[in-house]
Amino acid sequence: MMPEISFNIDHGYLEGLLRGFKSGILKQADYLNLIQCETLDDLKLHLQSTDYGNFLANEPSPLTVSVIDDKLREKLVIEVEHMRNHALEPLSTFLDYVKYSYMIDNVILLITGTLHGRPIHELLPKCHPLGTFDQLAAINLANTSIMLYNAVLVDTPLAPYIKDCISAEDLDEMNVEIIRNTLYKSYLEDFYNFCKKQGGATADVMCEALAFDADRRAFIITINSFGTELSKDDRMKLYPRCGNLYPTGLKMLGECDDYEQVKAVADYYPQYKELFENSGSNPGEKTLEDKFFEHEVKLMKKAFMQQFQFGVFYAYIRLKEQENRNILWIGECVAQRHRAKIDSYIPIF
């Protein structure tokens, strides 16, 4: 009842801080400067005049794109960790939920790396810092998903998510992919229910965002699975059910065999119809994934229109991730001197 009155007691400082961070997100003018860079050192110079400051100052030259990625991520991690450390319930649980997706990514990264014979000490630094947990280093002991559950994940927050995909089969690429997507599906549905329980403006913003995420994953999984060995039944089990596509859309997607059929399914949903409309892989057209990213950015910007809700935290993290992707894309184009599609980034503000 009247959450607006009591919101600021617990979370006002953090929301204020967050809105300050938000105003530091790169604007279109900054991007226009960045795309004119000739080398990565130019890029570093231009980034110094933004909120990033001298974050690349101590890096040895020559600069590489993966170093820039690490540093960009570091900045985000510092901000999020600060907020998490100062958060009270229920914001702290909310932020934890956001971090679980990074945990899932880390687990999969380590499993894949171990599968391919890389030593664990090489892989641990590559994990996302927002997704670390204590038992992460024990991943290399897991050969099957049962072992993964029992030895590694059972005491972590991810334990309930892996229940759906335990089997005694050895981990190989197909299983790892299935585990990744099943973990994410359970996580997403759990997060969705949590937000719904929060109610109010949070539910408003977050449920829309998570529903879009779920639908996007369903589409992308379907499209990327054409031509691979993933069976249709397995595929159906990977679709998160908290989106607009559930239940009929998902059933139709489960039966699709090619891109045109997927497009036909999307035509039933007006917001997705227009995303599929002008996308394609010809030069000059945006790809479908680009359009999904664009739509996400739009939703996230809308989240800032409402106050006294947790959605802004999620939105900020997503927007920062998109900004990082943009900067890295521009960096790669500059490094490869392939300027043809350098403006395929997605401007945020």
């Binding site: 894949t112 014979g117 050895d170 599609k341």
Partner: protein, 320 residues
């Protein structure tokens, strides 16, 4: 090659004569007599004789070819042979440049698509961390044919004349798939590219380290970072060998373990974005282009040496 004139009227002085020699050219001289040039099939001598047909000779059946007539005309003068050789050299050179340009384009596209895939999949999912460290084996190998014969050099009349004079044999390269590609994991949108592969052979293959050649051929990118050049080497010359890293077999629906382990794209996950597949196609094309370039360079070299011998022969014959 040789012409055979089949004459069905009374054999005149020419018919058997022609069978054991090489007919080069038939022409009318200024008096309206039909004459022909033939070469004695005495291989050490480049001697040409001129004969003539008697007046009521008939030619009901002739196997002509107008450009071979031109070649025969060329064959007459050593200087013209030289010119012909120069033209061939330039042709080969142009072909080489075109192929090199195409290779450059294809490599650029491959890296570009990889970056795009990294954009949508996340930087950490498409990097050197995903590749197999210990047991990489090349997916394609190059077979070298030592005897310099037929695979790629277009055999023409002049070349056969000069084969005896060729002082070196030029090995030709052909690209082979290391194992049977029949059950390879299907990759959608693979552009049909003329490759000389699909040959299963373990013996007699000389495995070249294709990765190194490719990194030398990558023409433009000086600002490569570490992970990218690693990726390049391993995208193009890697495949997963027996999956003994983690215990035994997971099976994917009845396919044999070997066939399933072939596609290096799976190192990045099963559900990878379309751009990564495109990138893989580009790099595969780059591999076959690299082999073509080696063949063209060999061809060029042999043409150049042929030119040298011709030139020496020409200067000798003008001196003597």
């Amino acid at each position: 090659f040789s012409f055979y004139l089949i004459i069905d009227s009374k054999p005149q002085n020419c018919s058997y004569f022609l069978k054991f020699n090489r007919l080069l050219l038939i022409f009318d001289d200024i008096f309206g007599n039909s004459r022909f040039i033939y070469q004695k099939l005495d291989l050490d001598l480049d001697l040409y004789y001129c004969g003539h047909f008697s007046r009521d000779f008939r030619f009901p059946y002739i196997l002509p070819a107008s450009d071979s007539e031109k070649k025969m005309r060329m064959a007459l003068s050593p200087k013209e042979k030289l010119d012909e050789k120069v033209l061939q050299i330039f042709d080969a050179l142009e072909e080489l440049y075109k192929t090199q340009e195409r290779l450059e384009q294809v490599m650029k596209d491959g890296f570009f698509n990889m970056s795009r895939a990294r954009y949508s999949m996340g930087l950490k999912r498409v990097s050197a961390d995903q590749i197999l460290e210990a047991e990489m084996r090349a997916n394609k190998t190059v077979l070298i044919c030592e005897d310099g014969s037929p695979v790629s050099i277009e055999e023409n009349f002049i070349a056969s004349l000069d084969k005896i004079n060729a002082t070196e044999t030029s090995p030709m390269f052909t690209l082979h798939q290391a194992t049977d590609s029949a059950e390879a994991t299907p990759v959608p949108e693979i552009t049909p590219k003329p490759k000389d592969d699909v040959k299963e052979s373990e013996t007699g293959l000389r495995k070249r380290n294709l990765g190194e050649d490719l990194s030398k051929l990558s023409l433009k990118d000086n600002d490569h970072d570490e992970s990218k050049s690693d990726k390049e080497k391993n995208e193009t010359s890697s495949s997963k060998s027996g999956k003994n890293v983690v215990g035994d077999h997971g099976d994917g629906g009845g396919k044999s373990e070997e066939a399933k382990a072939k596609n290096p794209l799976n190192l990045f996950g099963i559900l990878v974005s379309r751009e990564l597949r495109t990138s893989q196609n580009r790099f595969e094309e780059a591999v076959s282009l690299a082999v073509q370039i080696s063949n063209l360079k060999q061809q060029l070299r042999s043409l150049q040496s042929q030119y040298k011998t011709l030139r020496n022969a020409a200067t000798q014959s003008t001196c003597t």
